[in-house]
């Protein structure tokens, strides 16, 4: 069970309180009705799925209820950082 730092609760808390919510920084197109089938596919289906640093969303669903973002290494499952929803992608020293 991972230990996840909720940026709203400012505490490391057990994974079972959280729900993973997919890749982060995907923005729903404001002109969604006008995009092409390919653009819709890219928005809704295509994913980076990186081996290494992933930017992903979590929700502290059984806690404060907030969605937030995390940078995690998918090889070690270590979190590099977590940050509030709406904040920009943080610069991470070695990679990203």
């Amino acid at each position: 069970m991972l230990l996840i730092r909720c940026p709203y609760c400012e505490k490391d808390l057990p994974e079972v309180e959280f729900r993973h919510a997919g890749e982060a920084h995907l923005v729903r197109p404001s002109n969604i009705t006008e995009i092409s089938d390919e653009e819709f596919e890219a928005y809704f289906f295509l994913r980076q799925n990186p081996k290494g640093i992933v930017f992903e969303r979590w929700r502290h669903v059984h806690g404060c209820g907030r969605f937030f973002n995390a940078a995690r290494d998918t090889v070690s499952d270590k979190f590099l950082t977590t940050y509030k929803a709406g904040e920009p992608k943080p610069a991470l020293g070695e990679s990203a």
Binding site: E17, G63, C64, G65
Partner: protein, 183 residues
């Protein structure tokens, strides 16, 4: 018109566990309110409610019969054992907020005694060690397979709140966990 007012039947009527090291008992019925307030309107809502909303997540404020639990950055659970109309108090507040009566949604369970912390630790993965989780700490979390809201009301006493239909599970879980004499 109705002849009489309908009888209130709480979910855990008659259930109680008393052991030398811990007791698990249903809390008395209470008024409850879920408050959602953006930061800029906290003062206005606090004033109308007559209780200052604590603004640090996981902390609570208790005075008299009323506890106000800060569950999230803009979310509070107000519990008042006095049965007052909490939503009514906020009717006139113009500032944007949401106040929703959940008096019957939740059921409270009091776990107290030497083994209270250990009993809850059978199913709650948070660290409940007193210096880490001092009196007044509150949070939404997990107990076994149910969501709960946990409030530490004393060094050896917790209030566990859960949704009504989960209360049988939560109570039974605590009852089962409290059997372990190690606790």
């Amino acid at each position: 018109m109705a002849d009489q007012i309908a009888l209130r039947r709480t979910a855990l009527d008659g259930r109680s566990v008393k052991r030398p090291w811990v007791s698990v008992t249903p809390a008395a019925p209470a008024s409850r309110l879920v408050l959602r307030v953006p930061a800029e309107n906290v003062a206005a809502v606090s004033a109308a409610l007559g209780t200052e909303l604590p603004t640090k997540v996981r902390t609570s404020a208790t005075s008299g019969t009323r506890s106000v639990l800060c569950i999230g950055p803009d979310e509070w659970l107000v519990i008042d054992a006095d049965g007052v109309d909490l939503a009514g108090a906020l009717k006139g507040v113009e500032a944007f907020h949401s106040a929703v009566d959940v008096s019957h949604r939740n059921v409270g369970i009091i776990v107290s005694g030497e083994g209270a912390e250990a009993t809850i630790s059978a199913g709650c993965p948070q660290d409940l060690y007193l210096p880490e989780f001092p009196v007044g700490t509150c949070c939404r979390t997990i107990l076994g397979k149910s969501e709960i809201v946990l409030l530490r009301t004393g060094e050896r006493e917790f209030r566990v709140e859960c949704w009504r239909s989960f209360s049988d599970y939560v109570f039974t879980f605590l009852e089962e966990a409290s059997r372990d004499p190690l606790i």
